[in-house]
């Protein structure tokens, strides 16, 4: 079942990291990447993502994430939605980047349960 994602285009820029958006990001990440590959693959993916956030390296984070998503896009519509949402989200400020990034990471870590 696909998730209904509200169109963030009409939202004010500052509201991008509202908890609603973060919840959407987390749910979509969980569905798109929570079950991707083996446990080890996901663990490494999360580890790399965590390091990127820690270093506050947005480009690297985006690159790792999109590479992982690219592998899922073919047969996972949630991966497309997540990519759309990320496009909007990553235009935001530093503090928001952290929230967005951790929401995605927590989604992946929850193992597709959501």
């Amino acid at each position: 079942m696909s998730a209904r994602v509200k169109n963030p285009k009409n939202k004010e820029f500052g509201k991008l990291s509202s908890s609603e958006l973060l919840r959407d990001l987390q749910r979509l990440s969980s569905r798109a990447l929570g079950k991707a590959g083996s446990d080890n693959y996901r663990q490494k993916l999360v580890f790399d993502l965590l390091n990127a956030v820690k270093a506050n390296d947005q480009n690297r984070f985006f690159w790792i994430l999109l590479r992982a998503l690219n592998a899922q896009v073919k047969d996972n519509s949630d991966a497309k939605r997540l990519a759309n949402l990320l496009g909007e989200a990553f235009l935001s400020s530093e503090a928001n980047f952290e929230k967005v990034a951790y929401s995605v990471i927590l989604g992946i870590m929850s193992g597709g349960e959501r």
Binding site: R23, L106, S110
Partner: protein, 639 residues
């Protein structure tokens, strides 16, 4: 007709009087508030015109077995009395209240050892001593004492001539002169009643020093003692006539004199000159003044009742007329009876630097019970100059009360009123504020405090930087609890001391709740008024969540080394670092289920919560580092 139940008025001074009234009846008759209310309802006249006057003056009289027996006898009389209230008051006053002061009255007359003590500037006998036989006997005794002291004899130790005065000084152990020359050959002795009583004692016991006195001197002193006894006897006889107040007759000059002679020696450190306390009033005037108080026939009050009331000097702009209380009396029928009990409403704190204190809240029952507990506890206080301690003890009493009664309204309006002592530690005579401390707490805090579980958890001391801090005290002062828990956890991590799990988590939950409420706007909207009721539910929900996830993180992570970096991140407000460290560790957790729950908690309570994420983050550190004292039971954890 049934009496009106006692109720507080909202004015602290009147209410202190009402509380004093309640305290007085309890002290004297052992009636608690419930019993008193019942009696006022059933037989108000007996209470106000019989029991109350009796209790009031019993409280001012000397505590002796005889007075206690008088009281018991009077109680029976009041119990069985049937008739008019004024007749009851007369009976109680003339037959029993006078008897309570008999010894004090006799002694006050005997204490005058010289005629000079009882005359005014014009050389006339002052009214309270105006009785010819009394004056005659007093003069006789004075003359004999003087004569004895002036005699000369041989000193048994040096065979020189010395005055008897020296030997008498040895007997009574006094250094100063006993004879004073007043010029023009006028001589006075300086013996006090206590000195004279020592002489009497020595003469009875025939002590060695007494036996050294020359015979003539002994004879003179023995005669003075006889006259003294005669004087005492005479005074007691005179006093016996009082019971049948016929001795006072009508309003003649003679009867006024008599009235003053029989003035009750009533003294209160609180009221100096108010009506029947006034020195110029005779016993009849005292009676009428007291009767007027009960009948409510005093229309104005001012500084002679209490310094707290306005006076012309202090308030020239408002007091063009006297302070009329008739309006108040319509609302509070026995107002004046209460106003003369204000001092009984207060608690004497028996250690240095603290005078009288009064815990005040606008609810009679709450106030009465709290003060009662406070009175018990302050009795045991000694040598503590810490006024904070009073604050703490007061709160103990309040908290004790709260386990029985729920009254958030009272909790909002509480004061500690403190009156001065002088440097010698005595309550000083004038009524002066030392301070009034507002100790009420907002409805929001009050509602949280009223919850037994939360209060119990907070009512503990946490070790912080080597000292113990009372957590509840911090909360009552409306200080944020987070910094305290942060220090407590740091203590636990650094010194491996116990971390109080339950207390810490509840404190963090409260802190988080108050922070989240802090951002709510909309004063006086529905939301504002519903806040207190929802606050407790909110705190409990937060606590539950914190507690479960403190257990989950404990189960998920075995490596205790991450406690330090995690704590450090919280302390420096680095959410990014905190989440990063925690997630990396959770990636390798063995217990995936617990880790997954903690993940959800991180998202809900830390990542998407800008106001109070630190509280929830620190709760996880408590989970990892805690487990010392008061660790939550596993039943509380989610298994």
């Amino acid at each position: 007709m049934g009496g009106e139940e006692l109720r507080f008025t909202g004015n602290w001074f009147i209410d202190a009087g009402i509380l004093g009234f309640v305290n007085l009846m309890e002290e004297v008759y052992g009636w608690d508030l419930e019993e008193l209310q019942k009696r006022i309802k059933e037989e108000p006249e007996k209470v106000y015109y019989g029991y109350f006057p009796l209790a009031y003056f019993y409280n001012l009289s000397a505590k002796s077995d005889e007075n206690r027996n008088t009281l018991l006898e009077a109680m029976k009389e009041v119990e069985g009395f049937k008739g008019d209230k004024h007749k009851l008051l007369e009976l109680v006053w003339w037959r029993y209240i006078t008897r309570l002061f008999k010894d004090k009255w006799v002694r006050s007359k005997l204490e005058k050892m010289r005629k000079r003590d009882i005359i005014n500037n014009q050389g006339k006998i002052r009214d309270p001593y105006s009785d010819s036989k009394y004056v005659k006997l007093l003069e006789k005794r004075e003359h004999l004492i003087k004569a004895a002291l002036l005699m000369e004899t041989k000193d048994p130790n040096s065979s020189e001539n010395i005055k008897c005065e020296v030997l008498v000084k040895r007997i009574i152990g006094k250094r100063g002169e006993l004879i004073e020359k007043k010029g023009a050959g006028d001589i006075e002795h300086k013996l006090s009643l206590e000195d004279f009583e020592k002489l009497i004692k020595n003469s009875h016991e025939k002590s060695k020093l007494w036996e050294e006195l020359p015979k003539e001197c002994k004879n003179k002193i023995n005669k003075a003692i006889e006259v003294h006894y005669e004087l005492e006897q005479y005074l007691r006889e005179r006093w016996r006539h009082i019971a049948s107040n016929s001795v006072l007759g009508d309003n003649t000059k003679e009867s006024k004199k008599l009235s003053k002679f029989f003035r009750l020696p009533i003294d209160s450190s609180f009221y100096h000159n108010y009506l029947f306390f006034n020195q110029s009033k005779g016993i009849k005037e005292q009676f009428n003044a007291f009767k007027n108080i009960l009948d409510g026939k005093v229309r104005k009050i001012s500084k002679d009742l209490s310094k707290f009331l306005p006076s012309d000097n202090e308030f020239p702009n408002i007091l063009y007329t006297t302070f009329d209380i008739s309006q108040l009396q319509e609302q509070i029928p026995n107002l004046l009876a209460y106003l003369i009990c204000v001092d009984v409403g207060m608690i004497d704190v028996n250690y240095h630097n603290a005078g009288k204190i009064l815990f005040y809240s606008p609810d009679l029952e709450f106030c009465y019970e709290t003060n009662r507990k406070l009175r018990e506890w302050t009795k045991s206080l000694r040598e503590s100059n810490n006024s904070r301690f009073i604050f703490k003890v007061t709160w103990w009493a309040i908290i004790d009360m709260m386990t029985e009664k729920k009254s958030s309204y009272s909790l909002e309006n509480m004061y500690l009123i403190q009156l001065y002592r002088d440097e010698k530690g005595r309550i000083i005579n004038n009524q002066a504020f030392a301070k009034v401390e507002y100790i009420g707490i907002p409805k929001l805090h009050a509602s949280i405090l009223l919850d037994d579980q939360i209060r119990e958890a907070l009512n503990t001391s946490l070790s912080v930087n080597g000292s113990n801090i009372w957590l509840l005290g911090r909360f009552l002062r409306q200080k944020p609890l987070y910094p305290l828990i942060l220090k407590h956890v740091r203590n636990g991590i650094k010194d491996s001391g116990p971390i109080r799990w339950r207390a810490s988590l509840y404190a963090l939950a409260i802190d988080a709740k108050l922070r989240s409420i802090g951002r709510d706007s909309g004063l006086f909207g529905n939301f504002f008024f519903e806040r207190p009721a929802r606050a407790v539910a909110g705190v409990k929900e937060y606590y539950h969540d914190m507690n479960q996830n403190a257990w989950n993180v404990r189960k998920a992570i075995g490596d205790k080394n991450i406690i330090y970096p995690l704590f450090s991140a919280v302390r420096r407000h680095h959410r990014n670092a905190f989440v990063n460290i925690l997630l990396k560790t959770l990636l390798q957790a063995n217990n995936k289920e617990s880790a997954s729950r903690v993940n959800s908690y991180i998202f809900r309570r830390i990542l998407t919560n800008d106001e109070s994420w630190e509280d929830f983050a620190l709760a996880l550190v408590v989970g990892l580092a805690g487990g010392g004292a008061d660790v939550g039971s596993s039943e509380e954890s989610e298994e």
